[in-house]
């Protein structure tokens, strides 16, 4: 039995039944990671020793007839934005290089309690800021379908490691599309749950009102299995939802007869790649064949999604990232010796060989942050600081909050007419590494179809719906009302029973 060929649901069943041990399963994935990750760079840390130890303990408990958790023996890769007590948590930033949190994120704690085996921490865009995974301080992740292309971001490492079968399941986080977009570009299934469904405690904050943790896996059924474990109320996250967690994996059977799926005219705007459009149209046809009906709807403020997002997220980030000041933990510049870091965008100030600092303290702050943060993080901190400043707040941040309310209302209106909203995940398939790095605005547009979900606080799922002639996956996105995860998962599962796109594997990593 080749563990890498099994779904997460099958792995858990096989270990439970004794057809395979947790150690065998973990070892198989770790071996693949050891063989493949040199060229993909999906992991920032592979914890072979710790993972095998955990797996062996699970096997011993099973042998002794002791009860096992719901995910017993399932290898899981965790995005490096989630705190892990025994492993470094860096957010792919030099700022947190070597940082070991003294606690587990709520999601990590729930995975451990369910006897999942954490195999390592995955690469990402620095502090989850980016859509290509090229903003990692530890090198970009390569797309397993074409190593010259980006896997998407910011959860690119999590997407790539599932696509290359280095882990059956990975945990990602999604602030503006960071689970769905890389899942789409890597041909896997990724779910961004409703805001508050999964606790944010221990997720290193990027934009607190938008961040949400979710599962990334081969299939909707695998996502359902993992979501059952990681979702739920956390009294130590004030924004966590109290609603009871359904048994998602037991709610997949019901057919889609009568399901209304919305199709948004704005999604067919200029810039949509024809091959992506073809895949999306074919996906609607599959849903219709399954008994659903497709209805044209409007999301009139969707076009303001990207600018709204690029105000709210940087504003929150500028404050969330203030704590990385070199005073208490993380990177601290050596006093007086550090040379002036390059300003964001690579433009060196004309005069700037030496800069005046108000005090040694201010110098320490400036140098530590100058050295510790990458250019995209600096850019967003500056954007947010500017937009929150006296005299600009009303024109930018306050205005963005108003537009956000309008976008939320669009969704409420839409969900009065349809059950789910379909569409592309991103306008193009995976782009070349370096293709957009010189043009921040072009890079921000990769979030075009995904940011509104976060602004509205609802859930979305992305999954493969076809391939380009060049062999790159095309993703389809479904968005649902608040707490409609059962429906998102059921619709995707039904789609995946009728198609096999999600079962295709990249040749390079076979």
């Amino acid at each position: 039995m080749q563990p890498a060929e099994l779904s997460a649901v099958e792995i858990v069943a096989a270990i439970r039944q004794g057809d395979m041990t947790a150690v065998q399963c973990t070892e198989a994935f770790l071996d693949r990671a050891a063989r493949l990750d040199g060229s993909i760079n999906a992991f920032l840390k592979i914890d072979r020793e710790g993972a095998l130890e955990t797996a062996a303990a699970i096997d011993a408990r099973r042998k002794a007839g002791k009860p096992l958790g719901a995910l017993a023996g399932l290898p899981v890769a965790v995005k490096d934005a989630l705190c892990t007590r025994d492993l470094p948590t860096t957010c792919a930033s030099k700022m947190l290089a070597g940082f070991r949190p003294p606690y587990d994120a709520d999601t990590v704690a729930r995975l451990r309690a369910a006897d999942a085996v954490i195999v390592g921490k995955t690469n990402m865009d620095e502090f989850a800021m980016g859509g290509s995974n090229e903003n990692s301080a530890f090198g970009p992740v390569k797309n397993p379908w074409d190593l010259s292309r980006a896997p998407g971001g910011s959860s690119g490492g999590s997407a790539a490691c599932v696509a290359a079968d280095m882990a059956p399941v990975a945990i990602g986080s999604d602030t503006g599309g960071s689970i769905r977009q890389p899942a789409g570009l890597c041909g896997i299934t990724g779910l961004k749950p409703t805001y508050g469904r999964v606790s944010r405690r221990g997720l290193v904050a990027f934009a607190s009102s938008l961040d949400q943790i979710g599962p990334m896996a081969r299939s909707a059924a695998d996502c359902a299995l993992v979501l059952e474990t990681i979702a739920g109320h956390d009294p130590r996250d004030s924004t966590s939802l109290t609603a009871e967690v359904p048994r998602y994996s037991e709610l997949l059977e019901q057919p889609l007869t009568g399901l209304k799926i919305g199709r948004v005219a704005e999604h067919y705007a200029e810039g949509l790649d024809p091959e992506v459009r073809k895949g999306v149209d074919e996906a609607y046809a599959v849903f219709e064949a399954a008994g659903a009906t497709v209805h044209d709807i409007e999301l009139p403020h969707a076009k303001y999604g990207v600018p709204t997002y690029y105000l709210i997220a940087p504003c929150e980030a500028s404050s969330n990232l203030a704590r990385y000041d070199g005073a208490h933990y993380g990177h601290r510049a050596e006093p007086g010796t550090g040379h002036q870091a390059e300003p964001a965008g690579g433009h060196r100030a004309e005069s700037g060989s030496s800069q005046h600092f108000d005090s040694p303290l201010v110098e320490m702050y400036c140098r530590s942050r100058g050295e510790g943060f990458g250019p995209e993080v600096k850019r967003r901190i500056m954007l947010g600081t500017y937009a929150l400043s006296a005299g600009y707040y009303d024109a930018y941040y306050a205005k963005a909050l108003k537009v956000r309310r309008l976008i939320r209302q669009d969704y409420l209106d839409a969900f009065a007419k349809v059950d789910l909203i379909g569409g592309p995940v991103s306008a193009t398939p995976a782009f070349k590494l370096g293709e957009k790095t010189g043009d921040p605005l072009a890079m921000y547009l990769v979030d075009l179809y995904t940011v509104a979900t976060n602004l509205a606080g609802v859930g979305g799922i992305s999954f493969p719906c076809g391939f380009t002639r060049g062999g790159l996956p095309v993703g389809f996105q479904l968005q649902g009302p608040a707490l409609a995860e059962p429906l998102l998962l059921r619709a995707t599962d039904r789609f995946q029973r009728l198609t096999d796109w999600h079962l295709r594997r990249p040749k390079q990593t076979a």
């Binding site: 944010r200 997720l203 009294p235 130590r236 996250d237 000041d325 929150l388």
Partner: protein, 505 residues
């Protein structure tokens, strides 16, 4: 209600507003479960939340919120039905998150007042309260001034402690009023159990804003630039700093004519040993704190029912207690003021004693003259005072009965205090026993016989001469009641004048 300030010789009006931070008396911090106990070794009462570690999230302490509501209600504030948390962003090493969680444009309460009345009638001032809001405290920076090192040590035990910020209207008109108002505010907050208001431990901190309104000959008003005074460590310092600043501003105005609006608001620090305020370095780029709503916390809604419940649990505030105490126990307003100003525990003690002896005035006298003096000498609180109300009441009752006089009572008080024995015990061991009527007559007759001069004086109409017998009586029997001795002697002497009549005993 507001009476004009006592007339002064000053050719200006002093305008003072206060900004008071009080630490709420909660067991745990505002957004995490760490203890707020004062004095623990540095950085031992911390967790990922108050250390601002990546991924940590705040959760509001409900107890802190209800204590703050209590304070605001006692200050007659309007409680907002909807309030939120904002981040105040600035960099400082004792602020580990790089922002302080505070309240900006929607504080949980506003528009209240607190009146202060000088018991001697010098002033009476109803001071407006602009707002009361909740926020978390920062840590403590200890700058090591040792030559050459200039190290700063950070203790984050205090980081995240709940603070109530109370901002007054600029309604105070003199340094004395400011001090009296602070005393009244402190008393109120301590009565409510909202804060211990211990300035030494930093549970109460005051900043003062002050300027002068100076009438010009043409009838217009010159206003001096507003100065914020910081770094005052006691209410006495507040009074002294304001008095200094008032004089300084008048001098400066006379020298420069600088007025409000022509110069930026200045911050000056109070140097207590030197007795002067000094200009502090202007904060770089003034203060753009980039306030915005904290996305990690949810807004708080407060219902009418919650407000009613908080009111019901509030207890009697000092202002009301002063009146009820004076009326109930028939003591003067001044006495009630003294007792109430000592705190709720002392009032409880007083009422216990007064109930047992059945009279307020005598209990109030004993408390003010003996108990308070002793507490001061011993540096004790009333809760620690060894003579409990039943014992003091026992002693007072014996004096009222005429068992012995007040000065003898004080000796017994002192002996009970030092020995820790009961009043009855001390009375017995000192051989103090009530002197019987026969014994008293015999003693007085003896004294009359031995003091013909005094007898003659009394017979000559100088009744007060009988007082000369009291000392001798006490020498013969220390337990006699001087008043009774005096009365008995006078009666006996008068009976001598009318030998045909028997003395009326």
């Amino acid at each position: 209600m507001t009476k004009p300030a006592a007339p002064t010789a000053e050719p200006f009006t002093t305008v003072i507003g206060l900004e008071v931070h009080v630490q709420l008396q909660t067991k745990t911090k505002l957004f995490c479960g760490c203890s707020t106990t004062f004095g623990a070794p540095p950085n031992t009462q911390v967790c990922p939340v108050c250390l601002g570690l990546p991924g940590s999230l705040p959760v509001m302490n409900r107890e802190a919120f209800s204590l703050a509501i209590k304070a605001a209600l006692a200050l007659e504030c309007r409680i907002a039905p909807f309030t939120k948390w904002d981040r105040k962003n600035y960099f400082y090493p004792d602020l580990p998150k790089g922002y302080q969680i505070s309240q900006f444009d929607l504080p949980f309460s506003s528009d209240g007042w607190l009146e202060v009345v000088d018991p001697k009638g010098a002033f009476s001032r109803k001071v407006g309260v602009i707002r009361v809001h909740l926020e978390e405290d920062a840590g403590k920076s200890m700058h090591d001034e040792a030559a050459g090192t200039a190290d700063t040590r950070i203790d984050l035990n205090r980081a995240g402690t709940p603070l109530c910020e109370i901002v007054s209207q600029p309604d105070l008109r003199s340094p004395q009023e400011a001090r009296a108002w602070l005393n009244e505010l402190k008393l109120l907050l301590v009565y409510l159990g909202v804060s211990d208001c211990n300035m030494q431990e930093g549970s109460l901190r005051v900043d003062a804003n002050v300027n002068l309104h100076i009438p010009r000959p043409d009838g217009s008003l010159a206003k001096t630039p507003i100065v914020e005074i910081k770094n005052m460590n006691s209410f006495r310092s507040v009074e002294r700093a304001l008095a200094y600043e008032t004089a300084r501003q008048y001098d400066e105005w006379q020298a420069t004519g600088a007025e409000l609006g022509t110069t930026p608001k200045q911050t000056r620090g109070w140097d207590d040993p030197a007795g002067v305020t000094r200009a502090q370095r202007h904060k770089e780029e003034s203060s753009d704190y980039r306030y915005f709503p904290d996305p990690d916390l949810v807004p708080v809604t407060v219902s009418e029912e919650q407000i009613a419940a908080a009111k019901a649990l509030m207890g009697t505030p000092p202002t009301v207690l002063r009146t009820t105490l004076a009326e109930k126990w028939k003591i003067s307003a001044y006495d009630a003021d003294v007792l109430v100003n000592q705190g709720r525990e002392l009032v409880g003690y007083f009422e216990d004693v007064a109930t047992r002896v059945g009279e307020g005035k005598v209990a109030s006298n004993w408390l003010q003259q003996d108990v308070l003096r002793t507490l001061n000498e011993r540096g004790e609180t009333i809760d620690e005072f060894p003579i409990r109300p039943d014992a003091l009441a026992d002693l007072i009752r014996r004096v009222q009965n005429g068992d012995f006089d007040t000065s003898r009572g004080r000796e017994i008080f002192a002996e009970v205090l030092t020995s820790g024995r009961s009043v009855a015990d001390v009375v017995a061991s000192l051989g103090i026993a009530a002197v019987g009527q026969d014994e008293l007559i015999a003693l007085c007759k003896e004294l009359i016989a031995a003091n013909p001069k005094i007898v003659a004086d009394v017979q000559g109409g100088k009744e007060q001469a009988a007082a000369g017998l009291i000392g001798q009586a006490k020498k013969k029997n220390p337990n006699v009641n001087p008043a009774k001795v005096r009365q008995m002697c006078v009666d006996l002497i008068k009976a001598l004048e009318l030998p045909t009549r028997t003395p009326e005993a």
